[in-house]
């Protein structure tokens, strides 16, 4: 499949059932029911949105980055990508994408990996895993650290070279770009709106994103 399929959406923000703004550095958890459509809007541009999905009725059945890239034969996520769970289910499908490329190899930052990647002194800077932990602890319902698997980084650009190199590049996103997904089953969405200040994944300036949810079943 092609690496980048630009596709805009006909959904109107005014028709959305829910609209939330997730500030930079915050977690956000929300259940999306089968048939509903969720849009993530990069409000100010170049923001990394670390995202996990779970089967809403069985959290052990969760988004699997390796299964997703292997089943589509491509490492980047864009329009048409089916997000595959660890049990082989299709959780959601990307139905629109005005950015064109999203990463699922780079994972989430953590205070621990920040010490390794940048400096031993960087372990006290806010990081995605802090937000994931806070988010799932407040959500409850049995979610633990071991449920935080390899995530999607919406709007983040992590190219892999034919020689097997991996780099973090400036985002290909811009203010107002969005990605839209249709839930193929009831899912729990867990977001950390990335607070990373040490690399270009956020343009060194973490910014808010908007979440819109439509209920297509009643339209």
């Amino acid at each position: 499949m092609a690496t980048s399929i630009l596709q805009s959406s006909q959904m109107l923000p005014g028709d959305a059932l829910h609209s939330f703004v997730v500030e930079a550095g915050n977690p956000f958890l929300f259940e999306i029911w089968k048939g509903q459509v969720v849009r993530i809007v990069d409000l100010e541009g170049n923001q990394a949105v670390d995202t996990l999905f779970y089967n809403a009725h069985d959290y052990a059945d969760r988004y699997s980055a390796q299964d997703t890239i292997r089943e589509q034969g491509n490492v980047y996520l864009t329009t048409g990508t089916r997000l595959i769970s660890s049990n082989g289910n299709v959780l959601l499908t990307i139905t629109a994408d005005t950015c064109g490329r999203h990463d699922t190899l780079g994972g989430a930052c953590s205070t621990e990996s920040n010490r390794v990647r940048y400096d031993l002194s960087k372990g006290h800077m806010h990081a995605c895993r802090q937000s994931f932990m806070k988010g799932i602890q407040e959500w409850g319902r049995g979610l633990e650290k071991r449920d935080i698997a390899s995530n999607i980084n919406f709007f983040m650009n992590v190219p892999v070279t034919p020689e097997g190199g991996l780099t973090f590049e400036d985002g290909v996103s811009d203010a107002g770009k969005y990605v839209e997904l249709r839930a193929e089953m009831d899912v729990l969405m867990v977001i950390s709106n990335c607070p990373q200040l040490n690399n270009p994944c956020n343009g060194y300036n973490p910014t808010p994103v908007q979440i819109l949810i439509w209920d297509t079943n009643v339209q």
Partner: protein, 237 residues
């Protein structure tokens, strides 16, 4: 590491193997016939909530392949194992492992009842059964590595399985930097071409090895690894 070899055994194709690889020892995996695949997963045996983290491993070392000089990071900023020898040059960290549905679709069904121990096995079930023996389960199974297999990524991101990556006798050695629960599965790579169920055997050996020196090639590979080793040594203070 031959001089101090403590144990050697052969793991047949399609099988699962596990061992708590102690700090100060190394595991050599040898592709006996060529064309083997070993899906591998790693946990800190002392604190099993700490386990292999694929993204942290790739981004700390700016790589989408694994070979000598690379290390395997946990989710806690520490090193589980280091790749201290490698005659293959490319091990696949991207494509994950086979499951029952896939194996049945690709190779057909061969049940235990009709095929006995030549039945068609898959890596996911193998890992889940083995993890269960340590009180762990599917929630504990995260992304894995495929030793001996090579999958390249082209300019648009498409995956390409490279056959013939590992020749007979090829080996890779992993030095344990902590007491590491190692789980291996020798099912075929999920992207391996062909419709013949023919997983290859692998010889595994364990030897005592020296601790990583101050100029150890894995430690010196990049500044990230130097810090990773320091933080791993801190864990044992």
């Amino acid at each position: 590491m031959e001089s101090s070899m403590l144990w050697t055994e052969t793991v047949p194709g399609g099988a699962t193997w596990s061992h708590v690889l102690k700090r100060g020892t190394a595991l050599r995996m040898t592709d006996v016939e060529g064309g083997a695949n070993v899906a591998a997963y790693f946990l800190n045996f002392d604190i099993p909530s700490e386990r292999f983290n694929l993204p942290d491993t790739l981004k700390a070392q700016h790589t989408a392949r694994l070979t000598k000089g690379h290390v395997l990071y946990s989710d806690m900023g520490r090193i589980l194992c280091s790749v201290i020898e490698d005659t293959v040059g490319w091990h696949d960290p991207l494509c994950g492992f086979s499951n029952n549905e896939q194996v049945e679709k690709k190779y057909g069904k061969a049940s235990y009842q009709e095929s006995r121990n030549d039945w068609h096995q898959n890596a996911r079930d193998g890992f889940l059964v083995e993890l269960g023996k340590y009180g762990l389960g599917s929630r504990d199974l995260h992304a894995t590595v495929n030793f001996f297999s090579k999958v390249t990524v082209d300019a648009v991101g498409d995956l390409q399985f490279n056959a013939g990556n590992s020749l007979p006798g090829s080996f890779v050695e992993l030095r344990a930097e902590m007491n590491t629960l190692v789980l291996l599965n020798t099912c075929q790579h999920p992207l391996a071409p062909g419709s013949e169920y023919a997983p290859r055997p692998v010889e595994v050996s364990i030897a005592r090895v020296s601790p990583p020196s101050s100029n150890d090639p894995c430690r010196m590979h990049c500044r990230e690894n130097a810090r990773g080793f320091l933080l791993t040594e801190l864990f044992f203070l």
